[in-house]
């Protein structure tokens, strides 16, 4: 498809700098990855409110918590694998339990990290963060949606996790979209099958929808940009209208977005479902697009899952 691409990280950096101009309470922390996460741009604009914690993510999360106790709105960034895994207990104990105003915005999530290999490819961060009470979990689909999401969560007190990828991703959301925490958006309407994508899998779903449409299938594509709180209304409406659902995530299907959607639909409007995502294995080094194909997270697999799930419709 003829996409234009944009970086989620770049949009994060831009949103932070804009927030910093009007909001004196915004403080930003990073753990020696500020160039990659783009928090360095905030650091350049507001050096007195930026603290590089060095390669010490656990201390960074605790420090973020203390700043929030002191009335600050804190953004703490690192790679997703470290922000959620290395510092899990600090996020749970010092941020989520006391319900503090800390935004954990992590980049380089998922397999598209690429060459760094499995040590850096977190396929379980959504599961980890989603399981913690008080935590809001957001996975924007593209660069502009990342920008809007960051602006939205800055105004919303409490702990929040935002997942971003490394690579530039296709712009899939409408220009004048308004980001609402907890609200999924329908990017393409249809009635035969619903493709529920999250993160950059939304673009993959839209690509699959084109292929399916050429075969005469009417496809709905949902951008599930908030994982928690889950928009069960939009999801169950999609299930009711289409009678079949495919989820697509760049994450382990075990305890991932597909699992959450399945649980929500089981309680509201159960329909046949297929889950596209990482099949409970560790990744490896490679180019992003190679890895997406290698591990079954390309449009081809979404199309196959859609055909399979429609066959299961009664």
């Amino acid at each position: 498809m003829n996409w234009s691409y944009d970086s989620q990280r770049k949009n994060y950096g831009k949103a932070l700098v804009e927030l910093g101009k009007t909001r004196k309470d915004i403080v930003v922390l990073d753990a020696d990855l500020s160039g990659s996460t783009r928090t360095a741009e905030f650091g350049k604009a507001f050096p007195e409110r930026f603290f590089n914690c060095g390669i010490a993510e656990q201390n960074m999360m605790g420090t973020a918590a203390g700043l929030a106790v002191g009335g600050m709105t804190v953004f703490a960034s690192s790679f997703a694998v470290f922000a959620t895994g290395r510092a899990y207990d600090q996020v749970r104990q010092s941020i989520a339990y006391p319900n503090l105003n800390v935004k954990i915005v992590a980049s380089h999530a998922g397999i598209t990290v690429g060459g760094d290999g499995a040590s850096h490819q977190t396929m379980e961060d959504i599961a980890l963060m989603n399981a913690i009470p008080n935590m809001t979990v957001i996975v924007p689909a593209d660069g502009p949606e990342t920008y809007r999401a960051i602006k939205a969560i800055a105004d919303r007190p409490g702990p929040c996790y935002v997942r971003m990828g490394r690579s530039d991703v296709p712009i899939v959301t409408p220009k004048d979209d308004h980001f609402q925490v907890g609200k999924a958006s329908v990017l393409r309407d249809g009635s035969d099958v619903a493709l529920v994508g999250t993160g950059q899998m939304v673009a993959v779903c839209l690509e699959a929808a084109e292929t399916l449409a050429a075969k005469g299938v009417s496809v709905r594509v949902v951008d599930l940009s908030t994982i928690k709180p889950l928009d069960t209304i939009t999801l169950s409406k999609a299930a009711r209208d289409c009678g079949a659902v495919v989820t697509a995530e760049e994450h382990n299907i075990v305890s991932g977005v597909g699992t959450l959607v399945a649980a929500a639909l089981a309680e509201s409007y159960p329909v046949p479902m297929e889950r596209v995502g990482m099949q409970d294995v560790f990744g490896q080094s490679g180019e992003s697009d190679e890895l997406m194909r290698e591990y079954g997270m390309s449009a081809k697999e979404v199309v196959a899952a859609a055909i399979k799930v429609m066959e299961r419709k009664k």
Binding site: C53, Q58, N59, G62, A65, G66, G70, M72, V74, Q90
Partner: protein
């Protein structure tokens, strides 16, 4: 007793024999609360509450500028209990300071109580940070100290740590961060009672030379007898005068201090006294069961 310390107390006014006597009596009262609470709960951590009772008393009744009325304000001194299992002594101090009724103390660890087994910021009036998973309090104290500095508030953040939790790597991450950022308003006090659940700290995971470790991390290091009220007041006073770097005070204490059969007895790290032990403990602490 008199003042055995060669230094003058710089910041604490009207410090005299009478004040110290009153504080010592207050510490004894808090110790009785601790024993009563843990006995009523049937579980809890008496050892580390009793060892730190004199430090907590000095902070809450003499040193820190705080009150229930200024509870949510930032323009006050702050306290983070990194060794969250010493919650009973913290609650006893908060209740005696008027943050909640002392009658509530015996609800410790009970269903629907505001007094959780470990401190909770969202449940208990006066508790500034939830703790319990060890090694995390100092990072929080640092963040709070930064927030105060950013807002131009010249206030202290006291962080009370256990010695066992010095084995947590995050403590040393936080130690580096505080020195790097010259957080002179952070005062970390280590309750050096020498015992942890499985035994003596020096046998489980040796800490000494503990002061040298902190000094090499760029901290101002002081030592005191943490069960001697004069020394506590004097040493913390010196720490408050220090500028340019954070201060750590290694406070030599006796685990279970004040109750003969609990003193230096690792068995009472996390065990409630039975009825007979409770009665004896209360008598030893100058009270009646």
């Amino acid at each position: 007793m008199g003042n055995p310390h060669p230094f003058r107390c710089f910041t604490l006014h009207d410090l005299n024999e009478k004040t110290v006597k009153e504080l010592e009596k207050k510490a004894e009262l808090l110790r009785r609360h601790v024993i009563r609470m843990i006995h009523a709960a049937g579980s809890g951590h008496p050892g580390g509450s009793l060892s730190s009772a004199d430090i907590v008393t000095a902070l809450f009744f003499e040193i820190m500028d705080h009150s229930p009325e200024s509870g949510s304000s930032l323009d006050r001194d702050h306290f983070i209990l990194s060794k969250g299992h010493a919650a009973p002594i913290y609650y006893a101090a908060l209740a005696e300071c008027g943050y909640f009724p002392t009658e509530e103390l015996i609800t410790l660890r009970k269903l629907h109580s505001r007094l959780q087994g470990h401190p909770s910021r969202v449940k208990t009036p006066g508790v500034e940070m939830s703790t319990g998973s060890l090694g995390q309090g100092l990072s929080v104290a640092n963040g709070l100290a930064l927030a105060l500095r950013l807002q131009g508030l010249d206030r202290k953040v006291f962080c009370l740590c256990g010695d066992g939790e010095m084995a947590e790597g995050q403590i040393w991450e936080a130690a580096m961060f505080a020195a790097h950022n010259h957080l002179e308003n952070v005062i970390c006090i280590i309750d050096r009672n020498g015992l942890q659940i499985d035994g003596r700290t020096e046998e489980i995971m040796a800490l000494e030379p503990l002061g040298d470790k902190w000094r090499s991390f760029g901290w101002n290091v002081l030592f005191m007898d943490g069960n001697d009220m004069w020394q506590v007041l004097d040493t913390v006073g010196m720490a408050m005068e220090h500028r340019g770097s954070p201060t750590v005070i290694v406070a030599k204490t006796v685990k279970g201090k004040g109750v003969s059969f609990m003193e230096n007895n690792v068995g009472f790290h996390g065990k409630a006294p039975n009825d007979k032990e409770y009665e004896q403990a209360m008598r030893e602490l100058g009270g009646s069961p």
